[in-house]
Each structure stands twice: as structure tokens, then as C-alpha cells.
């Protein structure tokens, strides 16, 4: 499945160059023409990756001053502020963000799986501030068996969001009032949004027992 687009590209290229000869040819010709002219250097636009950039502003300094080493990094990606924080202190930092920095709404909470990293999950918390009309993203690396603190005591909205995160990734939040699966059945085995959970995979035993069919596919 994952190979699909990459294997299709070489096949598709000849088609598109036939279907759209002018666009393709001019773009192919341009670099060839220019070196022959005056400036050989400019077309070579191997710019360094534009994002993420380090972020340093008043707010980041306040966070750094308050939490020191727990603020691991401050970044900007596509003009959006990201604070990389230590997972153990996530709740404290969230409380501070809510009370002192006026990030009063938890917009979203989710995770991203990076199986090759030492701590495989990135917990991603999107915050919004009504008074400042600003967004802030907190990110914390969480290992497979770590138990990051639940944000449900800070924002009631975190309740279902953390349940979904547990359901899909298997991250256990410490101090969550009611950590159960939310979208999948309670007895389901496996966490589907992990990268090692194949797209065709399912809990066949559950499907057979509860739905009376061999496969849900």
C-alpha cells in the first residue's frame, strides 16, 4: 500500500508530459538555457529547509524562565508556535499556559507515532487563547510504556480527546477520570493509529465473535 504512489509516479510522468507538453518542456528547458546565458548560479535553488525555525519571543522567555529545562525547545513551523516540553511536567505547564498565559481553550489533543524514536509518541496539544487570539502547540515525547499526566483536570475537553488518544495509540494518561476506549469496542485488541498496525489489520477474533462474520473488510 505504502509503495503505491511512488511506484505510480514513474508510470505517470510520461503521460503528463504528453498531455501537457508546453508546461513540462519549458520548465525542463529553463535550467538548460540559463547556464548558457549569463547567470549560471541563480536557478540552483537548493535552499535549506525553511521550517522549523527556532522561536524566541517574550512568551517563550517567560516559559523558559518559569520551567527552565522542562522547555526543551521552541520552534516555529509554517508561522505556528510550538513548544517542545518534558512530558512529566506537561500538566504544570498546561496549567501555567491556561492561568498565566491566557490559553483558555484546549482545541485539540492528539499523538503522532514515530516507531524508530527512543520515545515513540509525540503528544500534540493545540491551545487557543481568546484574549490574545493566538494559538500555541505543546509537544511532548512519550515512550510506549510512559504515563503522561492527564490534562482532564485542566480542561474538561481533554477527557474524550485523551480517551481517543488511548484508543488509537495506547497511551495511558495518568490521573484520567475514565480512561476507556471511545471509538472502538472496549474489548478490541490493538491500537490502530500506531504505525505498526497495518491498514488491513483488524481484531479478527472480536469481529468473528461479535459480528458473526469472518472479516470486516
Amino acid at each position: 500500500m505504502a509503495d503505491e504512489p511512488t511506484s505510480k509516479q514513474p508510470e505517470k510522468r510520461p503521460e503528463t508530459s504528453e498531455g501537457q507538453p508546453p508546461a513540462r518542456e519549458t520548465s525542463a528547458q529553463k535550467p538548460a538555457e540559463k547556464p548558457a546565458g549569463e547567470k549560471p548560479v541563480p536557478p540552483k535553488k537548493e535552499a535549506p529547509p525553511a521550517w522549523p525555525k527556532p522561536l524566541d519571543n517574550e512568551m517563550v522567555r517567560r516559559f523558559r524562565q518559569r520551567f527552565g529545562d522542562a522547555i526543551l525547545d521552541a520552534l516555529e513551523d509554517r508561522k505556528q508556535a510550538i513548544l517542545v516540553v518534558a512530558a512529566e511536567r506537561l500538566r504544570e505547564i498546561a496549567e501555567y499556559a491556561r492561568d498565566e498565559e491566557q490559553f483558555d481553550m484546549l482545541t485539540d489533543l492528539t499523538a503522532v507515532d514515530w516507531p524508530k524514536r527512543e520515545k515513540r509518541f509525540d503528544l500534540v496539544v493545540n491551545l487557543y487563547s481568546f484574549p490574545r487570539n493566538e494559538r500555541l502547540r505543546l509537544k511532548a515525547a512519550v515512550g510506549e510504556h510512559d504515563q503522561p499526566p492527564s490534562l482532564a483536570p485542566v480542561w474538561a475537553a481533554a477527557n474524550w480527546l485523551e480517551r481517543e488518544c488511548f484508543d488509537m495509540f495506547g497511551i495511558r494518561f495518568e490521573g484520567h477520570p475514565d480512561l476507556r476506549r471511545i471509538l472502538l469496542p472496549d474489548e478490541w485488541v490493538g491500537h490502530p493509529l500506531r504505525k505498526d498496525y497495518d491498514i488491513l489489520q483488524q481484531d479478527t477474533a472480536w469481529v468473528r465473535e461479535n459480528l458473526g462474520i469472518e472479516s470486516g473488510q
Binding site: I82, V124, N126, L184, I199
Partner: protein, 382 residues
């Protein structure tokens, strides 16, 4: 927390092992016409009064976020239409804009304005469907026929524009796939011309109707403080008195060009949410009227390659969908397929406020409260 008597019955913070003489636990849905899909609600009742509730969701879970990781950026676009399937245009707009932000592509002005018009028409269509079904749930049979009459006109415009009525896939990453058809402006103008009088008609049926007022005023009250803590967005948040709309807070598409008001309520009850949505339809009409007069000429598709490979990184982009904040958090690893797509569905998060809103009310009000949150289960479960 006490052990629950049966496997599924579980009310956080409530001892359900011992029920009082008048207490009962009943199940509502997932096959129930007023749940607007397959929502299942467990109600803990004392007589006819609701003292606790639990929503059981996931019946429509299709793993949209997992599918996204196995499709290219363009291939995934049609899937988003199948989340909030009564507002597919808005879903598509949010996704396309998020990918454009990730690619750092500028959309031509013409595409932006056409997008705005179609999205606002979609908002009207979505609110009309909400109004019709919500009134029907409460027992007013008439409005749904009027609402569907007008909604049909909007769907006809969509059909003429892109060939589909519901799952439209109207936009493409970078702009529009299709130029507007001949007579598009006239069709939209004809629809808008008397739409305000149509809204007056609906209001004449309901706004001062004594039964409607009795059934909605003071029902399902959500304070502004609770709404913010629960992350509620959209008309539900605004009815609680918080004047916040992403179209104003972070203007996207062409919204910064047009004048419109953000209606707000004050009581946070079902009646206020009704008034807010009615006024939103008038404001959507106002935006469309301004936009349709002045569609810029020019290209409809920005500079996007046939193979999209955004630079590694991540972006969060959200729009004001008819039901609230619809956000897309996309992580790119530099390949043609997104590494992760997280969809922040407004219905899912707004539904979490259901328990707060329903406590203390009667069983008949449960139906009104489900309707007033305006959920679509395709989006809740994804």
C-alpha cells in the same frame, strides 16, 4: 469508582450498583430517529428526570485518519467529504487550505471568492437541514418541508457546479478544479434574492410559537465558562455569549473582504442556539450577496505540482465549519503521502458537552438537546 453491574453501563463518578426505587437506566439508540445517525445514549433516570448520561459512539468509525496515511495528498481529499456529509464543501475547504498552508502555496483570488460563496451556501444548507430535523424532533412537522425546498436549490447549484449534491469534492488543493458554469451568478442571485423572506417564514412558524418556546427556552443551558472548558465551538459556543468565529479571528478564504456580523446569544439554551443559527443564515446570505457581485477574474488554480511533496514539518489549520471549528493537523515527512492527518471534528468535541447540558432535564428534552448540538455521526466517529 464502584464496579458497574453490567459490562457497558458505566457512569463516571456515579454509583450505579444501587438504584433507588424511582431510578432506572434506559438505552436510547443507536437505532433511534432523533439521534441523527447512530448515536447511542445511556440515560440514568430518576423518574423522568435525567440524572446522568453516557454517549456511546464509534458505530460509524471508518478509520479516516489511518486511511490518510496510505493515500497521497490529492487522493485523500474525497475522503474528507464523508465525515460531515451534510457539509462536504466545508470539509473540503478545510483540508485543501491545510495542505496549501503546508505546501506554502498561494490560492488565486478568483478561487478564494468562489470557495467562499460555495462554503457559505453549504453553511445555509447545513443549517436548513438542522432546522428542519430539529423542529421535527420537537414535534413541528411543517418546517422541514420548507427547509428542504430551499436546501434543494443549493444542492442544485452544487450539482451544476461539480456534478455532485452531497459528497461534492468541489475544491482542489491549490484552488478549484472547475471554472464556474455559465449562469452560476444568476442561479446564486436568484436563490439569495428571496431567501431572507424564506427565513422570515421559518421564524414565523417557530420564533414566537408558544410550544416551540416552551420546549426550547431554558433547555440544555451551557454557560460560557463550561463551553470554553469543554472546548465547544461554533454556534453552540456563540449562543453561550462568546463572540468568537474563526472567519473573523483567523480569516481564511476571502472572508476578510466582506462585512458580516457574528450573532451571539446570552442564555446558552436551546432557544438561543436556534436564534444564533437563524441569524447566521442571514449573515451567510449577506456574505454571498457581496461576493457574487464581484468575483475577480483570473486563474482558478495556484502553482501546485502534479506530485505534491510538502517539506517535512507540520501545520494546523482550522475553519469555521457549520458545526464549529474543523481543524486539520497534518504532519509531512517530505513524501507524497501525509505522515499523519489528525482531524479535529467539531461534532465530536461539542457532543462531549451533552452530559452537562442534559442533566436535570426530562427525557423528552434529551431529543431537543441532541438536535441543538447539531452533530453528524460521520464526523464524530470518522
Amino acid at each position: 469508582m464502584a464496579e458497574t453491574p453490567t459490562r457497558h453501563v458505566h457512569f463516571p463518578g456515579m454509583d450505579t450498583t444501587v438504584l433507588g426505587a424511582d431510578e432506572i437506566i434506559i438505552n436510547m439508540g443507536p437505532q433511534h430517529p432523533s439521534t441523527h445517525g447512530v448515536l447511542r445514549v445511556k440515560l440514568h433516570l430518576d423518574g423522568e428526570k435525567v440524572i446522568g448520561s453516557e454517549c456511546i459512539i464509534g458505530y460509524l468509525h471508518r478509520g479516516v485518519e489511518k486511511i490518510a496515511e496510505h493515500r497521497s495528498y490529492q487522493q485523500f481529499a474525497p475522503y474528507v467529504d464523508r465525515m460531515d456529509y451534510v457539509a462536504a464543501v466545508s470539509n473540503g475547504l478545510g483540508y485543501c487550505e491545510a495542505v496549501e498552508k503546508l505546501l506554502e502555496v498561494e490560492v488565486p483570488p478568483r478561487a478564494k471568492v468562489v470557495r467562499t460563496i460555495l462554503t457559505e451556501l453549504q453553511r445555509i444548507a447545513s443549517h436548513l437541514l438542522w432546522l428542519g430535523t430539529h423542529a421535527l424532533d420537537i414535534g413541528a412537522l411543517t418546517p422541514i418541508f420548507y427547509c428542504f425546498r430551499e436546501r434543494e436549490e443549493i444542492l442544485k447549484i452544487f450539482e451544476k457546479y461539480c456534478g455532485a449534491r452531497l459528497t461534492t469534492h468541489a475544491f482542489r488543493i491549490g484552488g478549484l478544479q472547475y471554472e464556474v458554469y455559465d449562469g452560476f451568478e444568476e442561479d446564486v442571485k436568484r436563490f439569495l434574492a428571496d431567501f431572507d423572506r424564506k427565513i422570515d417564514e421559518y421564524e414565523a412558524l417557530l420564533t414566537t410559537n408558544r410550544i416551540w418556546v416552551e420546549r426550547t427556552k431554558g433547555i440544555g443551558v451551557l454557560s460560557a465558562q463550561d463551553a470554553i472548558a469543554l472546548g465547544v465551538t461554533g454556534p453552540v459556543l456563540r449562543a453561550s455569549g462568546v463572540k468568537w468565529d474563526i472567519r473573523k479571528a483567523f480569516p481564511y478564504a476571502a472572508y476578510d473582504r466582506y462585512d458580516f456580523e457574528i450573532p451571539v446569544g446570552s442564555n446558552g439554551d436551546t432557544y438561543d442556539r436556534y436564534l444564533v443559527r437563524m441569524e447566521e443564515m442571514r449573515q451567510s446570505r449577506r456574505i454571498c450577496l457581496q461576493a457574487i457581485e464581484d468575483i475577480p477574474s483570473g486563474p482558478i488554480l495556484g502553482k501546485v505540482g502534479k506530485v505534491m511533496k510538502p517539506a517535512p514539518g507540520e501545520v494546523y489549520h482550522s475553519i469555521e465549519a457549520p458545526k464549529g471549528e474543523l481543524g486539520y493537523y497534518i504532519v509531512s515527512d517530505g513524501t507524497t503521502q501525509p505522515y499523519r492527518v489528525r482531524i479535529r471534528p467539531p461534532s465530536f468535541i461539542n457532543l462531549q458537552a451533552f452530559d452537562t447540558m442534559v442533566r436535570g432535564h426530562l427525557v423528552a428534552d434529551v431529543v431537543a438537546i441532541i438536535g441543538t448540538i447539531d452533530i453528524v455521526l460521520g464526523e464524530v466517529d470518522r
